[in-house]
């Protein structure tokens, strides 16, 4: 009798927990519905691609509205960032909808993207090692498949590379997690008492376990030295997918870093590792980007450098991280969208071929300039506001505890902002300033809807510079105490 009531309690607890998972649940329903639609209308309906994308968009918007409810209830960082992630998902699908005639295997494309999104949402939400691992695997496996979606030799190679690197890093992470579970005897990170465990087990083994776990997390945000996969993958993957790759997994894993910070960063070595990674990512990302000829490859290195900035924001404070993350999302979607427009119009991705494009397509040229200025972090764009917030945050941190590491983060951040100016402005330089010998490029039709979408994103970037208050109010509604 007692056993039965205990079981009843357990079930009641589980059901109560499930209500927090509504957004994920809606996306899963969307995934299954897409699968069924794809099976029924495959190759029969001419507009099936469009319909599949539209159905997905409806489900994602439903999930987004549900997440607004969940956020108003919990209002912590994880739930807010889930809103941001869902917003990125909606953007991705809206972007993809403008290209329906080109999307290959639309059904699977959206299904696997939904898998990526669910994985990211779970990582941002959970503090249970098992759920975190499953979320990371879901995100990674979807990413391996999506990076093969150009269906050519390069993308198969990139996907395989990604899979091999990713599998090794997952193995490391799983080993670390299993050690952590063995040492602490709990899967819930909130119950970890690592300093206490150190007394019981010994110092080195626990640090090893934490380091190995962090290794897997750092791989997913493409922080140096675990960044080697990203340029190849970014170059060969369909451009919109790259935009999603550079935002969704990164932000999700950063939220995870915040969730585990007060448990794992009790060791000064782990903190030092993260700070060192930040400096290394900034420097290597920016300097490698200087030599790149392909626009997507250059942006891959730029996103590695931005991982460094996000890590600095991680050490500065949560508000500046959220602001930077949001702005980073908008900038990256805008820039990759523009690369896609040019790719579609003239089928080029090399920067040197951008020569003279500023006169042919002035609107896109101007949008490019604004988005890239924002990525650099210059006024009048939101990128500037974001960088100011991050730098002032880290400077305050330095003034309060006089740790020289914070000072070096500050100095390296500033220095690298200057370096990044050189490669970001390469595109506008080729588009507007460099004189060309009238290269004739075949012009194709490109989606005007997409251009307007990007235009509105760029407008938001400028708006957030002049009126950052609305965004800041939103960010300050997060309960940071948790």
């Amino acid at each position: 009798m007692e056993y039965a009531s205990q079981l009843n309690n357990q079930l009641q607890n589980t059901i109560a927990l499930l209500s927090g998972y509504w957004p994920e649940f809606i996306i899963v329903i969307g995934l299954v519905v897409t699968l069924i639609i794809d099976l029924i209308f495959f190759n029969k309906e001419k507009n099936s691609n469009w319909w599949i994308g539209f159905v997905n968009l409806v489900f994602l918007i439903l999930a987004f509205t549900k997440q607004v409810d969940v956020y108003s209830y919990f209002s912590n960082l994880g739930e807010f960032m889930k809103l941001v992630l869902l917003f990125a998902g909606v953007l991705f699908i809206v972007f993809s909808l403008t290209q329906t005639h080109q999307t290959k295997k639309a059904g699977e494309y959206y299904i696997i993207f939904n898998g990526l999104l669910i994985g990211a949402l779970l990582i941002a939400k959970s503090t249970n090692l098992l759920v975190i691992y499953l979320g990371i695997e879901m995100m990674s496996i979807s990413a391996y498949v999506l990076s093969a979606f150009s269906f050519n030799k390069n993308s198969a190679e990139a996907s395989l590379k990604y899979l091999l690197f990713g599998a090794v890093s997952s193995a490391f992470m799983l080993f670390g997690m299993s050690l952590l579970y063995g040492f602490t005897q709990t899967l819930n990170i909130n119950d970890f008492e690592l300093l206490h465990t150190v007394k019981v087990i010994g110092d080195l083994p626990i640090k090893l376990a934490v380091f190995m776990t962090m290794f897997g997390f750092l791989f997913k945000i493409a922080a140096t030295p675990m960044h080697i996969w990203s340029p190849d993958v970014y170059e060969a993957t369909p451009t919109f997918v790259v935009a999603a790759f550079s935002v969704i997994p990164k932000l999700a894993v950063f939220v995870l870093l915040f969730n585990i910070a007060d448990k794992f960063l009790v060791f000064p070595e782990v903190e030092l590792l993260l700070q060192f990674t930040a400096i290394l990512s900034l420097t290597i990302g920016n300097f490698a980007a200087l030599w790149q000829k392909n626009a997507k490859r250059m942006l891959a290195y730029s996103s590695i450098a931005h991982t460094g900035f996000l890590l600095i924001a991680f050490f500065a404070n949560m508000q500046s991280f959220v602001f930077y993350g949001l702005v980073y999302l908008i900038m990256n979607f805008a820039v990759f969208g523009l690369v896609k427009v040019v790719e579609q119009k003239f089928s080029i991705t090399d920067i040197e071929q951008y020569i003279g494009l500023g006169k042919k397509i002035p609107l896109i040229g101007v949008l490019f300039v604004v988005a890239l200025i924002s990525l650099t972090g210059l006024p009048p764009t939101a990128g500037f506001t974001a960088k100011i917030l991050v730098f002032s945050g880290i400077w305050e941190k330095y003034l309060t505890n006089h740790n020289p590491v914070y000072l070096s983060l500050f100095v390296f951040g500033l220095f690298n902002t200057v370096v990044s100016l050189f490669y970001y402005l390469k595109i506008p330089y080729f588009m507007f300033i460099k004189k060309s010998n009238e290269v004739i490029l075949n012009e194709h039709k490109s989606s005007t809807v997409l251009t307007y979408l990007i235009g509105s994103l760029v407008f938001v970037l400028i708006l957030c510079f002049f009126l950052p208050n609305s965004l800041m109010d939103m960010i300050y509604s997060i309960n940071f105490a948790q």
């Binding site: 079981l7 357990q10 079930l11 607890n13 589980t14 927990l17 499930l18 998972y21 899963v28 995934l31 699968l35 295997k105 699977e108 299904i111 696997i112 898998g115 669910i118 779970l122 249970n128 098992l130 759920v131 499953l134 979320g135 695997e137 879901m138 496996i141 979807s142 391996y144 498949v145 093969a148 979606f149 269906f151 996907s159 050690l179 063995g182 040492f183 005897q185 019981v200 087990i201 010994g202 110092d203 080195l204 083994p205 090893l208």
Partner: protein
Amino acid sequence: MNWMTTIFYFFGAITVLSALGILFTRNVLHATFLLMLSFFSVAGIYVLGNASFIGVTQLLIYVGGILILMVFGLMLTTKLNGKALVTENHNRLIGVLLGTVFFSILSYIIIFSANFEMLKSNKTLPENAVEFIGINLMSNYLIPFEIAAILLLVALIGAAVISEKRKEKQE
């Protein structure tokens, strides 16, 4: 040394030796069978450690599922040219060095500096482990269980997309 310990070391030795064999053989079929041996003895270790359910699942999934699939795959692909599938080794020196260094770090830290004596838990295993696992999967661990289901669905669809035969379209 009582007989339980002896059997444990026996299984351990088989696991390690067959895993090393996978490294050194270049014939993929031999490697597959050695992997099977390795999985079998790991299952034996699980059973010795009172985790009989995991032992059985190990046999069912790895030996019964994955390895049979690999053997079938090998059978079907070697039929094409009639020769045994042989792999090549690259970067042998760096690989050996890295492996040795990593192994010595791990073994130093985990075996020699971790104090496992203190970890001896006083939890007793439930009498019926399978029932316990089943109830927990459906109550406390329901969410990870369902996530794993979706993960497998996505992976299945992904594998189907990648391996699907496509008409070569030259643009």
